[in-house]
C-alpha cells in the first residue's frame, strides 16, 4: 500500500468526518453515479459496459480510495461531497472519452466554479439512429406526464429551456425544496405511464 502525496493533508480533514457524514456522501454519490451514467448514455458512450464491473461499486470505491490514500487531493475549498462528485465525474468522463476517442492524452478535468453547472453540460453527439427514437419516446413521455397539470407543464417547459433548480422554483413561486417534491410527482407520473 502506497501513501500518496496528499495523504497527510487529506487525513487531517478525514479525521473530522463522522460515519453519518460518510453515509450521506455515499448515498448521494451512489445516486449521482446512476443518474450521471443515464445522462452519459445520451452521448452514445456506455461507460457502464466498458469498466467490466458494477459501475456504482467501481466509481464509488475508486473515488474514496484515491482520496483516502492521498493519490488525489481533497481540495481545501470543497466539501467531501463536492470533492467526491468531482472525482467521480472526472473518472466517468475519462471512461466515456476513452470509449469515444482514441486520444487518452486529451483527458482533462474541468473545474467550474459552481459544481451544479457541470450537471447540465452537454456532450458531443455520438448516438445511433435507433437510440434517437428511444430518446424521443422518453422526452415525449415526460411531456405527456406534464399535460393537464399547470405546475407540471411549467416545469416541463423550464426543463426544455435548461433552467436550473432554483430558477424553476422561483418561477413557480416555491422554495427549491417544495419544487423538488413537484419534480418527483412528474417523474412518478412518467414511471407510471411507462409501466401501464
Amino acid at each position: 500500500m502506497i501513501l500518496g502525496p496528499y495523504y497527510t493533508n487529506n487525513h487531517k480533514r478525514f479525521s473530522s468526518v463522522t460515519p453519518d457524514d460518510w453515509k450521506i456522501v455515499l448515498y448521494k454519490c451512489k445516486k449521482h453515479i446512476r443518474i450521471r451514467l443515464k445522462q452519459k448514455t445520451l452521448t452514445g458512450a456506455h461507460a457502464a459496459s466498458t469498466i467490466g464491473s458494477d459501475p456504482v461499486e467501481y466509481y464509488l470505491g475508486s473515488a474514496y480510495t484515491k482520496l483516502l490514500e492521498g493519490a488525489w487531493e481533497w481540495k481545501q475549498q470543497y466539501t467531501l461531497l463536492e470533492q467526491m462528485i468531482r472525482a467521480i465525474d472526472s473518472a466517468i468522463t475519462k471512461q466515456v472519452e476513452k470509449h469515444t476517442t482514441k486520444k487518452a492524452e486529451a483527458l482533462r478535468i474541468i473545474y467550474r466554479d459552481d459544481i451544479t453547472d457541470e450537471f447540465y453540460v452537454v456532450e458531443d453527439d455520438h448516438f445511433e439512429p435507433d437510440e434517437e427514437q428511444k430518446f424521443k419516446e422518453q422526452a415525449d413521455a415526460l411531456h405527456d406526464a406534464a399535460r393537464g397539470d399547470t405546475e407540471l407543464e411549467i416545469i416541463y417547459e423550464a426543463i426544455c429551456e435548461g433552467m436550473k433548480r432554483a430558477d424553476i422554483a422561483e418561477l413557480l413561486g416555491k422554495s427549491p425544496k417544495q419544487f423538488d417534491k413537484l419534480k418527483e410527482k412528474l417523474i412518478n407520473k412518467v414511471r407510471k405511464s411507462q409501466q401501464s
Binding site: M1, L3, Y7, T8, H11, F14, P19, D20, W22, K23, I24, L26, Y27, K28, K30, K31, H32, I35, R36, K38, Q39, L42, V56, E57, L60, G61, Y64, T65, L68, E69, L81, I85, I115, T116, F119, Y120, V122, D125, F127, E132, F135, K136, Q138, A139, D140, L142, I159, C160, E161, G162, K164, R165, I168, P176, K177, D180, K183, I187
Partner: protein, 135 residues
C-alpha cells in the same frame, strides 16, 4: 428533433443531479435508518478498514523516517540541522534540539516511542527534503 429530445433529457438528468446534490442530510439519515442500504454499509466498512490500514502504514513510514534522520544526525551533527531553521524557529525548538545533543542508544529508543518527538522529526524531515529539493 432528436437533438431536441436529447437536450430535454440531458436537462432533466442535470436537474435530477442537482436535486440529489441538494437533498437534506437529515432526510437521508432517516431514510437509511428506516431502510438500511447494504451497499452503503459495505462501503462504510471498507472505508473504516482502509483508514486503519493507511494509518498503520503512515506510522510505519514516520518511524522509518525517524530512524533515517537519527542516522543522519549522527553523521552530520545537530548544528547542520539547526541551520535549516530561522533564529526564531530555533528558539522555539530549543528543548527538542537539546534532546539530540548527546544521544545514547537508550535515548534513541525513547525518541522513537515519543509521539511528540516523532512529530518534531517529521518537521525536520520535511525541512531536509525541502533543502535537498532546493539544492
Amino acid at each position: 428533433m432528436s437533438t431536441n429530445s436529447k437536450q430535454i433529457l440531458n436537462n432533466l438528468y442535470g436537474l435530477m443531479l442537482e436535486i440529489n446534490y441538494n437533498r437534506e442530510d437529515e432526510e437521508i439519515i432517516l431514510e437509511l435508518e428506516q431502510k438500511p442500504d447494504l451497499q452503503i454499509n459495505s462501503h462504510l466498512a471498507k472505508i473504516k478498514q482502509l483508514t486503519a490500514k493507511l494509518k498503520a502504514e503512515a506510522m510505519k513510514a514516520r518511524y522509518a523516517d525517524a530512524l533515517n534522520l537519527l542516522k543522519k544526525l549522527k553523521e552530520q551533527g545537530i548544528d547542520e540541522f539547526k541551520k535549516m531553521f530561522s533564529t526564531n524557529e530555533q528558539a522555539n525548538l530549543v528543548p527538542m534540539f537539546n534532546k539530540f545533543s548527546e544521544l545514547s542508544k537508550k535515548d534513541e529508543e525513547a525518541i522513537l516511542e515519543d509521539q511528540e518527538m516523532l512529530q518534531f522529526m517529521s518537521i525536520l524531515k520535511e525541512r531536509t527534503d525541502e533543502n535537498t529539493a532546493d539544492d
